[in-house]
């Protein structure tokens, strides 16, 4: 039967069978490796989490039951004392409120602006890819550079923002944006939105690109105008992705320390004193590590609460 060469070539593999059997011994060790590879590969990360997250978290909770400061570095057990102090302290409730406003305002504006920009960048026009690239700049720009340039822009004496507003007659004289309680909060919010809205743009744009085109064509045939198409097709299609983005961004903005701290340090008059800054103030400003830890623990439980909403949402999605 083997008249052609390929046939012969395929057939010479009799010795292959022998090699297979020799392989069986070799694989005993590597079979074990194969069987437990999942655990083995997860081990380094588990170790990382254990040492750098779980232990510190437990230690943080532990510390929150102590009064611990420079004069008493070993700490004195105070039980729930720090929490009692916390929940009876108006500064804590004030910061909780500020944090909530800060997260709500920045996320709300990021979502609205991000979605609008994504819709714009989904249209086709000359130079679109350039604009798409540039829009990402605020997101990739180092936080400290962002802070510094906005400090310059907001500057009361020679800041460009004041110059333009005075020239156009919108305000009569320069405003010290970051050092007045009423303007400081919104000035900081503005930077938070500027820095992070590109994230929403990228996610929403990616989602827009996979909405089937024939949905729009069908709606058009059914007589829907551009506004009806937005509300009846685009928005429902974006709903889930917007919910997820809003939830996750809320967590990050709630926990964000750098933007506010570096622009205002929590001031003026605690107008921008968010919870992370309060932790910092207690722990490294007045060296009350126990109280700082107690605030951090409360933040942790807020995080757990929001994350369980997220996981519940994911579970509903998967069903």
């Amino acid at each position: 039967m083997a008249s052609d060469t390929p046939q012969g070539a395929v057939r010479t593999f009799e010795d292959g069978a022998v090699r297979e059997r020799a392989g069986a011994a070799r694989t005993l060790a590597s079979t074990l490796l194969d069987r437990h590879l999942g655990i083995i590969l997860l081990l380094p990360s588990a170790l990382t989490f254990l040492v750098l997250l779980v232990f510190p978290l437990a230690y943080g909770i532990y510390t929150s039951f102590f009064e611990r400061h420079v004069l008493d570095p070993e700490g004195t057990w105070v039980g729930l004392g720090n929490y009692v102090w916390l929940f009876t302290n108006p500064n804590f409730w004030h910061s909780l409120l500020i944090s909530t406003f800060w997260a709500g305002a920045t996320v709300g504006l990021q979502i609205v602006l991000g979605t609008a920009v994504a819709l714009l960048l989904h249209q086709s026009f000359q130079g679109r890819s350039l604009v798409r690239g540039l829009v990402l700049f605020p997101y990739m720009m180092p936080v400290v550079s962002v802070i510094l340039v906005w400090m310059l822009l907001y500057n009361a004496l020679y800041g460009v923002i004041n110059y333009v507003l005075v020239q156009t007659g919108i305000v009569s004289r320069p405003i010290a944006w970051l050092s007045q309680p009423d303007s400081a909060f919104w000035s900081v919010v503005f930077v938070g939105v500027w820095k992070y809205f590109p994230f929403v743009v990228v996610i929403v744009l990616a989602r827009l690109q996979v909405i089937p085109q024939d949905l729009y064509e069908a709606a058009r045939i059914d007589g829907a105008g551009p506004i009806a198409r937005f509300f009846d097709i685009t928005l429902p299609q974006l709903r889930d992705v917007l919910l997820v983005v809003a939830l996750l961004r809320t967590i990050f903005m709630f926990n964000n320390f750098e933007i506010v701290f570096l622009l205002t340090g929590g001031g003026p008059l605690r107008a921008t004193m968010t919870l992370p800054i309060l932790v910092y103030e207690q722990a490294f400003g007045v060296y009350e590590l126990g109280r700082g830890s107690a605030i951090a623990v409360v933040m942790f439980f807020i995080l757990i609460a929001v994350m369980s909403v997220y996981f519940a949402f994911l579970r509903k999605e998967n069903d």
Binding site: D4, V10, F13, G16, A24, D34
Partner: protein, 365 residues
């Protein structure tokens, strides 16, 4: 080269709503060099069975034996098998040559031998000119050949094919089907082929295993499965257009057994009648086993034509028969018009009777 024995293979997938039985008690012997097909609708367990043979899934219970040796616990690489995937699964970052060589390399085959084998496979499948290309630079048919080559090059004991033709367009599929048949003639390796396309299974296989809901329905040569389906499911699954099914009852009358449904009464062939089954039953007859007879022929059944379709060399007529609808296959020259009354003759030798009405209704023979 190996015989394959599947011994009471059982596979459950646990899920939230309880266990899903992907495979129930599959027992099968495959001879050395045989070409068998596992065929059935999606979710019937055919792919699960193939993946268990490959070692990609572990059965919940049961064993897989190659040449009498239990290999159930072995990793895929220790089984001396090769597999062609539906997606071909060519390594995108490797050239065709590297794709072909990969398995040999992993088994420590020396370089000269590898080169010799790659050259031989290239010549056999006529893919030598493609050796330096990447998979994405190949057409569907070329990818198919490379995938076959990658499997063949190792001269596996068992050759597994998972819907290898379903990503090709219709014309190429017929062509590759023929090549595959020729290939099997040439290499004579045990081949196990999974497909949902009964025509592929019929044309390629020595034996066909028809599966449904994880249960083997029938094993047999294409001939047997086509002409003596074991149950109603097999009867309807094999053959296009499907076998006509008429539900009715079996009852004795005047010493004979009759099948009757509204407007139809057919005497049961003596062989089937000997079983003496009565009660609810289904009559099956293939479209080509119904003939158009002159009106007034004894036993002819009057019926109305609904639609006629020309399918190249033949015609399919949809005919209303007292509330039943049947398809009749005739040469293209037979022209019928909608509304026309015709007389149908059923070949009594080619009737199939099933006891009951469900898809598991067993054939009465």
């Amino acid at each position: 080269m190996a015989t394959v024995r599947l011994d009471r293979l059982h596979k459950e997938f646990r899920s939230i709503g309880g266990a899903v039985h992907a495979l129930r008690d599959l027992t099968l012997d495959i001879a050395d060099g045989e070409f068998v097909s596992l065929v059935g609708p999606s979710g019937c367990g055919k792919s699960t069975a193939l993946r268990i043979i490959a070692g990609l899934e572990t059965p919940t219970s049961g064993r897989v034996l190659f040449d009498g040796q239990d290999i159930t616990g072995l990793e895929p690489r220790d089984r001396n098998i090769a597999m062609v995937f539906q997606s071909y699964a060519l390594y995108p970052h490797m050239s065709v040559r590297q794709n072909l060589e990969y398995g040999l390399r992993k088994r420590g085959v020396p370089r000269e031998e590898r080169e010799r084998k790659v050259a031989a496979i290239g010549a056999m499948l006529q893919i030598t000119p493609l050796f330096d290309r990447r998979p994405r630079q190949l057409s569907g048919g070329q990818r198919q050949r490379v995938a076959l080559g990658r499997a063949l090059i190792r001269d596996p004991a068992v050759f597994l094919l998972d819907e290898p033709l379903s990503n090709l367009d219709a014309k190429l599929r017929v062509h590759m089907r023929a090549e595959l048949a020729a290939l099997h003639q040439k290499v004579r390796t045990t081949m196990i082929y999974v497909t949902h396309d009964q025509l592929e299974a019929m044309t390629l296989s020595d034996r066909i295993i028809v599966m449904n809901h994880g249960v083997m329905q029938q094993v047999g040569t294409p001939e047997e499965v086509y002409s003596r389906p074991a149950n109603r499911f097999v009867a309807e699954f094999i053959g296009t257009p499907s076998m006509n099914m008429i539900e009715g009852t079996l009852r004795p009358e005047g010493g004979r057994l009759l099948f009757s449904a509204p407007g139809i009464t057919v005497p049961v062939p003596p062989a089937a009648a000997r079983q003496g089954t009565t009660g609810q039953a289904t009559l099956g007859i293939r479209p080509e086993d119904i003939s158009l007879v002159p009106p007034g022929t004894p036993g002819a059944i009057p019926a109305q034509v609904t639609v006629s379709e020309l399918a190249g060399a033949e015609r399919f007529h949809f005919i209303a028969l007292n509330g039943h609808s049947v398809i009749v296959r005739t040469p293209a020259a037979t022209v019928l018009h909608p509304g026309e009354t015709v007389a149908l003759g059923l070949d009594p030798e080619r009737l199939h009777l099933f006891s009951g009405a469900g898809e598991d209704a067993a054939a009465i023979r």
